[in-house]
């Protein structure tokens, strides 16, 4: 799917690199829940989470998206002047993330490809980040796709 004419650092394709260590704070989970109106007890009430069998407050499934915002990604050196927009994102939760967990993130450049439509050529960059917890278990995967569209005069 990768277009041969695109100019970027191809050595990064498929390569996985460490992209951050995160200590999950209870306050951060609660602030997240308050910002989006999440009210389910296991995400907002420590006692309810314990009664449901968890060690501590559980982070809602979208929480790993937030951590991805804080992960470092290398500059792939794409030669394409454009406006960047978030095109799509998928989050997958395998095990609950809980307060006081320590997560390691590993990120890889999954794909870079171009599509040409009515408005011209667009370039898509796809990243994938995996999170493992302090027990070495993979808890979540996040795939993010960004589209680079050419800027039109006047925009």
């Amino acid at each position: 799917m990768t277009s041969p004419q695109l100019e970027f650092n191809r050595e990064l394709l498929g390569k996985e690199f460490p992209s951050g260590t995160f200590h999950v704070e209870k306050e951060q989970i609660l602030a997240y829940c308050q910002a989006v109106g999440e009210t389910s007890p296991i995400y907002t009430d420590d006692e309810a989470a314990r009664r449901a069998g968890y060690r501590s407050l559980v982070a809602p499934p979208g929480f790993s998206n937030l951590l991805v915002r804080a992960t470092g990604r290398p500059n792939i050196g794409l030669k394409f002047s454009a406006t960047t927009m978030h095109a799509s994102q998928a989050v997958e939760s395998f095990l609950p993330i809980q307060a006081s967990d320590t997560l390691e993130a590993r990120t890889r450049l999954k794909d870079v490809y171009a599509k040409t439509g009515r408005t011209g050529t667009m370039v898509f960059i796809v990243w994938e980040t995996l999170f493992t917890n302090q027990e070495g278990k993979t808890v979540a995967a996040v795939s993010s796709s960004f589209v680079h569209r050419p800027r039109h005069p006047g925009t």
Binding site: G37, E38, S40, P60, P61, R69, S93, H152
Partner: protein, 148 residues
Amino acid sequence: MAKENVRYFEDVELGEELGPLVKVPTTEAVRQFCSVWDPEVGASRFTDEATARKEGLPHALLPGIMNMSYLITLLTTWAPAGQVRKLDTVFRQPVPHNKSVRLVGIVTDKNVVDGENRVECDVSLQREDGEAMVTGKAVVILPSRESR
């Protein structure tokens, strides 16, 4: 959790509707969301009209991951005892601040895979006139009545 609040796998029917859930993403809520990952929230396309316009956007917009978080609240409200296993979203249009959005969904499939009770749903975040700005597919794992 009180048993009467639990949505069981056996009780879910194909075509069952989720929501609607209505939210008004105020500028303050967007700033609060951004501050969870960056306490020093500065001017960005998410928090500042002028910055957004400078970047060629029609207005300041909600972060894509905030839209996803809203869709997840639709799922957790529908099934508080369920686990959202996956949410795959496409951001079709920038979502503006301070205009109400409708969160809706529909059950499209249910099956048991590796002992897990999976319910698949199509979800969307819509403008008041019903046009979808964000669409997605979700998988939610629900408890079974048999394992009560």
